[in-house]
């Protein structure tokens, strides 16, 4: 093929991709390979006090959420008010993994916007994120009382997604 046609091919591919991006409905999340497996082990210093740690051991005994967030992430700001509501309602403890972030900025974020987390582990170099198979922020995992990951939500969490995807798993799993 004429090599001068390659730019055209590339651009058409890009445009098709953007059209798909624009017309997408609300595709459901694909299952993560971690679903149904025990939550990956981790121990992280907390943001509030680096001498205190938070880890996967705290996740068993009840349903809990693990929310991956960072101050540089726009979607995290979007979902933050909902996390605050959820935390206030006492429905479920939320653990944060502050992912590849800057500790002073993250603390400041929690001071300014409120802190919905029981504790936020500070994952500075993203190692724990790798163990959990995190693509980006925000992502939210639901961990059951046995410490098994039962659901993963990509992108900002909101009430609709919460009631549709999380609540049935929590109430259904209790029997």
């Amino acid at each position: 093929m004429n090599r001068y046609l390659w730019p055209l091919v590339a651009v058409i591919a890009l445009i098709v991709f953007l059209v798909i991006g624009l017309t997408r409905g609300d595709p459901r999340a694909l299952p993560s390979p971690f679903i149904g497996k025990p939550a990956p082990q981790f121990v992280l210093p907390t943001l509030e006090d680096p001498s205190v740690t938070v880890g996967s051991e705290q996740l068993s005994g009840q349903y809990s959420l693990v929310n991956v967030w960072a101050t540089w992430c726009g979607g995290c700001r979007t979902e933050h008010p909902f996390l605050m509501d959820l935390s206030r309602s006492g429905a479920i403890p939320i653990y944060g993994i502050n992912w590849r972030d800057n500790a002073p900025e993250a603390k400041r974020w929690l001071q300014q916007l409120g802190d919905p987390y029981v504790a936020s582990g500070f994952d500075e170099d993203g190692r724990v994120g790798i163990d959990w198979g995190v693509y980006g922020a925000p992502e939210t995992f639901l961990v059951d009382p046995q410490g098994i990951v039962v659901y993963k939500h990509l992108g900002p969490l909101d009430r609709t997604a919460w009631e549709r995807d999380f609540v049935p798993l929590i109430s259904g799993g209790g029997k």
């Binding site: 001068y4 058409i12 991006g21 609300d26 999340a29 540089w72 980006g136 922020a137 990509l154």
Partner: protein, 662 residues
């Protein structure tokens, strides 16, 4: 009534834009001078009516005409007059109108300054610009009309986003848009040349100054945007790899590549098809940026209001423009390949590498910007990969680029003799290595490999950029020593060096600390004492604020007083942080108020930012280099460049050497 005049003017402008898009192209095809001249008149008329329309919208803001929906949403009675004006382009509809105004202004400038060009060629350029105007005017009228009415009008407006109530943001979008829109001129020149199939070195000579001016404004616009984010967002960062920032940065990278590639095409007649492709790409990325920002397809902290119909419109427009241009390209470019050769060690090689690295950098930014979308399509969530990825990915093409830049400036066209090549660069190279290690070590007390690499790179660019100006200064007084082009290039590269030093030092030695401070309390950060002397309430025109009075001392000596504020805007009720910044040439001391934590105590964020000014100062110098290069006299002559007259052997030789640097 006035808003209706604005609306009507916009419709008339559309009619004239259609005439401007059709007549000159047809005229050039049929060799009909009347039609070609009509295109120019239509361009003038279009500019006039767009200007009237813009003035009407400004009038509506100044008079707080809240029956206009756009005004009601983005203004408010107590908004200071200056921000009533800048609110005109503070959101989607108005900024689009400004885009159109600037596009028609560029067109008028092209019509005025292109009289020395062949009539058919300049007519085609104006025609292409007219077609682009049609697209944007339709976009405004069909999906984003700034004159839509709101009945009944509210008593007061919703106010301009407080983040935008700032002098930096008042001038940032106009500068940025002048740059964006300016690349449409380079695009139009490329299309016009491809339509006629006549693409010689004169084409590059005509295109160069326009491209450089556009690039200069884009540089300024990005720098001011970064400066604004630094002090107004209150975080003390200067670049966030936000999709909107990337949207302006990608055209800048490609525009920079285009400037360099045009130099090769003009001087040697090489890289023609590549230069065309870059001209198309620079403008396409401007359009892509517009699409990303205004369609809501990607999450960003400062994306415009999202509306899928707008997304579809701009995407269709982008598809028509870019696919059309690339079909033309695939048809014409194969006949443009030049058989002129160059040796491996020659300026052509270095500029080729420059282009490859800049395009790779732009591609990495594009991948990073689109990756959240890819992930979203695969998995269904809006997530971002963030600055950690960009910071690493971006350094990879940039470090070699910097090293090559210093070498390329001092390499001859066509073929460079190996023996003499590195001679003039020995001293700058030595100085760079010494300073690059000593400066961070002595002044900041720490050195790492990456840090030394960054500093050496910065000093290397500065040193090698100064070689040409210094040599011409020493050997010969007067104008013949160095052309404006060569001087502009040296200065722009010098700015790049300053920028690199600033980025390296501030990333390595920036200190930040969050402290709880009571009135009268003192903390020490990076050797400076910060005392919170007083907290008081202040009242602004449309906000109330708590202001801290922070005195800075070093070893007991008074350094300065800062007044950081925490403002609450009365209409939108949101809190804004106004940082207090003590500015010095080699450091910033940055104080921002956080929140009240208990009785009389506040959380305060204190930052020490060494050399951060060099980032923006460097960008300013880069733009200045562009300005100087544009004033080179060969762009003003209407005739093709005549062979230079020799002024004795020695004079000619030096001149050739200096010109070799362009």
């Amino acid at each position: 009534m006035i808003p209706e005049i604005g609306q009507f003017s916009l419709i008339l402008a559309l009619m004239l834009a259609i005439a401007q898009g059709v007549l000159p192209l047809l005229g050039a095809h049929r060799d009909d001078a009347t039609m070609m001249v009509a295109g120019r008149s239509a361009a003038m008329g279009q500019f006039l009516f767009v200007a009237v329309s813009f003035a009407c919208l400004t009038w509506a803001f100044l008079n707080s005409d809240f029956s206009v929906l756009y005004v009601a949403n983005h203004s408010q009675l107590s908004l200071p007059t200056m921000y009533k004006v800048s609110a005109v382009w503070g959101a989607h509809e108005g900024s689009l109108l400004m885009w159109i105004l600037l596009l028609s202004a560029w067109t008028v400038a092209v019509a005025k300054f292109s009289k020395g060009l062949p009539q058919a060629f300049s007519s085609r350029v104006i025609g292409v610009l007219g077609l682009l105007s049609v697209g944007f005017l339709l976009f405004a009228l069909l999906t984003s009309n700034p004159f839509d009415r709101l009945v009944p009008p509210p008593a007061d407006g919703g106010d301009l986003n407080p983040l935008l109530q700032d002098p930096g943001l008042a001038i940032h979008p106009p500068l940025l848009y002048i740059g964006y829109v300016g690349f449409s001129v380079a695009f139009a020149f490329a299309i016009a040349a491809m339509i006629s199939g006549d693409l010689d070195q004169r084409w590059a000579k005509w295109t160069r100054p326009w491209t450089t001016v556009a690039w200069m404004f884009l540089t300024l616009g990005i720098a001011i945007g970064s400066w604004w984010a630094y002090y107004e967002l209150g975080w003390g960062g200067w670049w966030f790899w936000d999709p909107v920032e990337n949207a302006s940065f990608m055209p800048w990278l490609i525009g920079t590549a285009l400037i360099h590639s045009l130099a090769v095409t003009e001087r040697r007649g090489l890289f023609k098809s590549w230069t065309l492709l870059l001209a198309i790409t620079a403008f396409s990325l401007s359009l892509l940026g517009t699409f990303l920002v205004r369609s809501g397809i990607i999450v960003s902290v400062h994306a415009f209001a999202t509306d899928p119909t707008r997304g579809f419109f701009i995407l269709s427009f982008l598809a028509v423009v870019v696919i059309g241009a690339l079909i033309l390209y695939a048809w014409r470019a194969p006949s443009l390949d030049s058989d002129a050769g160059f040796s491996l060690l020659s300026r052509e090689t270095f500029l080729l590498l420059n282009n490859v690295l800049l395009v790779v950098a732009a591609a990495l930014v594009l991948i990073g910007t689109l990756s959240p979308l890819v992930i979203e399509l695969l998995n269904g969530g809006k997530i971002s990969i963030g600055p950690p990825w960009f910071n690493i990915a971006f350094i990879v093409p940039m470090l070699p680029l910097i090293v090559l830049l210093g070498l390329g400036m001092h390499t001859m066209w066509r073929v460079q003799a190996k023996e003499t090549w590195f001679n003039p660069l020995k001293i700058p190279a030595l100085i760079a290595v010494v300073l690059g290690i000593v400066v961070p070590w002595i002044f900041y007390g720490r050195i790492t490999v990456l840090l030394a690499a960054g500093c050496i790179a910065g000093f290397w660019i500065i040193g090698s950029s100064l070689v040409l100006p210094i040599r011409s200064l020493l050997r010969e007084k007067g104008a013949a020593g160095i052309t404006r082009s060569a001087l502009g290039m040296s200065i722009a590269h010098l700015g790049m060096g300053l920028f690199v030093i600033g980025v390296t030092i501030v990333s390595a030695f920036n200190h930040e600390s969050d402290q709880a401070l009571r009135q009268g309390g003192t903390v020490e950060v990076a050797g400076y004492e910060f005392e919170l002397r007083e907290l008081r309430d202040v009242q602004g025109p449309n906000y109330s604020a708590i202001e801290g009075l922070v005195e800075i001392r070093k070893d007991g000596d008074y350094v300065g007083t800062l007044r950081p504020q925490k403002r609450q805007y009365l209409v939108q009720k949101n809190w804004m942080t106004e940082a207090g910044i003590h500015v010095d040439w080699n450091k910033d001391l940055f104080v921002a108020l956080g929140d009240q934590i208990g009785e009389g105590a506040w959380s305060v964020r204190i930052q020490y930012k060494p050399m951060i000014r060099f980032i923006w100062f460097g960008a300013l110098i880069m733009a200045l280099g562009g300005l100087i290069a544009v004033t080179d006299k060969r762009y003003r002559s209407k005739e093709p460049v005549a062979p230079k007259k020799s002024k004795g052997k020695g004079g000619r030789k030096r001149k050739v050497a200096a010109e070799g640097a362009q």
